[in-house]
Symmetry: C2
Subunit: 316 residues, 2 copies
Amino acid sequence: MAITVVGSVALDTVETPFGSVKDALGGATSYFALAASRYDQVNLVAVVGDDFPEEYRRTLSARRISLDGLKVEPGQTFRWGGRYHLDMNSRDTLFTELGVFADFKPSIPASYAGADIVFLANIQPELQLDVLRQTGEGAKLRALDTMNLWIEIARDALTEVMRQVDVVIIAEEEARQYAGAPGLRESVRRILALGPKWLVIKQGSYGALLFDSGGGFFAMPAYPLDEVRDPTGAGDSFAGGFLGYLASRLADGAPLTAGDYRRALAHGNIMGSYACEDFSVRRLLTLEPAEVAYRYREFVNFTHFEGSWRDGEAAG
Amino acid sequence: MAITVVGSVALDTVETPFGSVKDALGGATSYFALAASRYDQVNLVAVVGDDFPEEYRRTLSARRISLDGLKVEPGQTFRWGGRYHLDMNSRDTLFTELGVFADFKPSIPASYAGADIVFLANIQPELQLDVLRQTGEGAKLRALDTMNLWIEIARDALTEVMRQVDVVIIAEEEARQYAGAPGLRESVRRILALGPKWLVIKQGSYGALLFDSGGGFFAMPAYPLDEVRDPTGAGDSFAGGFLGYLASRLADGAPLTAGDYRRALAHGNIMGSYACEDFSVRRLLTLEPAEVAYRYREFVNFTHFEGSWRDGEAAG
């Protein structure tokens, strides 16, 4: 039972062609927790300043999200500001004010012991290693996310985290950057050679790929959204749906199968797609279970085709 | 029976990080015909100069490709030179020497009458319209490809071609450029509103999407190639696999189903992926039927997941 997630809680100021928000609830763990808590209990580990709105705390704690590990320090909450361009695929960071997040030292509360899954959201690899030490060997599944900055300035520590986790969840360009190989498949081989059993490649608006250390491969296109209002947090919501679904399967007691991982990728894509439909975490809050189920059926429908082609006959 | 294709035959000079070729067989109709002729008879309509190597003519005519419509004019064959960057997703055009292609006036030979499918490869929309006039209402399926240049300088004529065809096959950025809508789905609606029943969006190394005028949607990821040696012609090979498969289904006599179009998308992706494995059209020449069948089964396997998730239970 339960997923422990360690990373940032932030106040986001975002402009897109469809509108803007100021100091809205953001940060990797907020998106992750709101997505994953639909599937299982989430234990959140992060730090905020004493300016963090009580309203946002209630937003989180009203779900299956424990805030025992949310430390409040004197000072400012991490603030991020960004502006998206018309095609929504590129954005400019307008400001990054780390505030109390600059001195974040994750501390796992005793009440979080026994979590099945530990998710190391995008923070310094040294801190990710410290979380792995604190959580010990107890978790059934340990997963990480990262970013280009750590690949540049903390490569060795990141490599060590990769050696210790079961699942690496990473954007395609970061996988290529980390592995330094010309082809994606060679990059995948180099990362899986470090030890993880699973590698999830996030491709943004193109979907996600799933590789396993036994050579298995699965691909899922993204949901074709009618309107992307704010893509912030889509990757973290994806991780929340992906690991949340796996947590719900672990709670059933059976070992995870390759089929579970494939279905988990669908849930990741579902949460990522809904997150884009409104600013900040809004859509994750209004989302109804029936909407998740409906989009799941849509995913099944728009990716399946009949495999009964007369092999080799038509193509001479 | 048969597919008529109208477009370019060229001599390509290509450099990639994996090697180079000079004056190799290229052009949209060469790739298209070599892919599609695996499924059905192909009628080629193009023009070359009197410098066109006899060897290349034999390469084409050794397959189910009629060259009755390949005109030879005094002068140079269309030559194109390009250089790919390390990531293979961007390229620089080094030269474009149109030669006799500058005055190309497609003329459909009488021997091509009765073709089930007409494919208007990427040429001036005015010439595409002329081909539609020459081929009349006889064909069961008429499809077009185009490029950014025609969207810029011949938009009205292109719109008229779109009104007259059944299938538009177009790169994602060109669909967005043509429709001028912020979202892809709105771009799709605007194009389908012109009249085509089907719209295929090519996403390069990310796969392809299929939309129909009834609101249906299907997505297929690309094949995860180990090594891309030369992506030139991948889109035309895709069109060849896609329409070639549909031609083989039409030859069976039954009306085309949505399932046929989905399977056709797989065949498009298969031909596009193989085309990238070697320079020029080489891989399309060495490709064995068993390799097509094997990759088809791989596509089935790496895109399918079980749809039996307990809807709405796990996500509260």
